[in-house]
């Protein structure tokens, strides 16, 4: 081939074709998406941090009123569902589609339970008089947690879609990118919760 060759002799596109290529496209894209999610979440979390540093006494008050039990359970739910998620992927990589569906059902159930318990927690706090606009604690607490809760809801729905797709015979031991991308999302939501749990409830 010399400098002046304009194209390859045979018709063959690059970029779109292979599974590995597509997998890499999706993963890169999704990591980039998560990068921007990091920023959005951190704006909301920063609002809480500002308050936490300014009014530590008020935080203590709320902690005492709310207790840590409920959120500790919630943390476990989310951690377990993360584990279930990755076990599902593990099964699929071994070619076990039924295993994937099994684990993912657990994952979705746990995620849904998490949302339910968060609702209970919100109710408890509302009974304490803490609402979105009640005082400057409320808004700084609800904004990040509700935004996270919203992500959990989206995750559960997405998980159901994955299950549905698997039921119809989607995915194979080699072609798991759809699950992996969803996994990135779900684990990211988990990581955010790890941060929220520490920053808002523990410290």
């Amino acid at each position: 081939m010399t400098d002046t060759t304009l194209d390859h002799a045979h018709d063959d596109s690059h970029g779109h074709g292979s599974i590995a290529q597509q997998a890499d496209n999706w993963k890169t894209a999704f990591w980039l998406y998560l990068a921007s999610e990091v920023v959005i979440f951190s704006v909301l979390i920063a609002m809480f941090v500002l308050y936490r540093l300014e009014f530590p006494a008020r935080i203590k008050e709320v902690h005492e009123a709310a207790g840590v039990l409920l959120v500790a359970i919630n943390t476990f739910l989310l951690l377990t569902s993360s584990w279930a998620m990755v076990m599902g992927l593990h099964q699929m990589r071994k070619g076990d589609r039924a295993g994937l569906i099994r684990w993912f059902s657990i994952m979705c159930a746990l995620g849904a339970l998490f949302v339910g318990l968060q609702y209970v927690e919100y109710q408890t706090l509302a009974n304490e008089g803490i609402t979105l606009y009640s005082d400057s604690f409320g808004m700084r607490f609800y904004a990040p947690t509700a935004f996270h809760g919203f992500h959990v809801i989206v995750g559960v729905l997405w998980g159901l879609l994955v299950i549905n797709h698997a039921r119809k015979g989607g995915y194979s031991a080699e072609r798991t990118i759809g699950i992996e991308v969803f996994g990135l999302y779900w684990h990211f939501v988990d990581v955010v919760w790890i941060v929220l749990f520490t920053v808002i409830y523990l410290i």
Partner: protein
């Protein structure tokens, strides 16, 4: 994973040598083990389960610390522990450990950015000047 080509790269490219589809599948192989070798001992679970165990343990420790009387040491410990948790999830569950370092960069850069930004926000005084 670099891109896929049937052709050898031309001499002047400085890209990573492209892998093939076959390799891509092989690369996923480590996931298929149902045992974990840790410090020379072989555990009968996949690595994910081991990680889950650690995560659960850390969480319990965290909850206990938070129930102890408040203190700076406790808070620092909590932050460190939760960082460990986050790193475990990212490294093992999100497979960052075995993916291209580019993904690590994609994650680390915004994290550093927002940490700096948040620290800055906390340094803006609320008082008069």
């Amino acid at each position: 994973m670099a891109q896929v080509h049937e052709h050898a790269p031309a001499a002047f490219t400085d890209k990573a040598i492209p892998g093939t589809e076959k390799e891509a599948v092989d690369a996923a192989a480590p996931h298929n083990h149902d045992v974990t070798v840790i410090m020379g001992r072989t555990l009968p679970f996949p690595v994910y389960t081991v990680v889950f165990g650690i995560l659960a343990a850390i969480t319990i420790v965290e909850v206990i610390i938070s129930e102890l009387p408040e203190g700076t040491i406790g808070n620092i410990l909590l932050i460190v522990l939760s960082l460990i948790k986050a790193v475990l999830v990212v490294a093992f569950y999100m497979h960052l450990r075995e993916e291209s370092p580019l993904y690590t960069a994609i994650l680390v850069v915004p994290v550093v950015l927002v940490v700096i930004a948040t620290l800055f926000l906390t340094s803006v005084p609320l008082g008069n000047y």
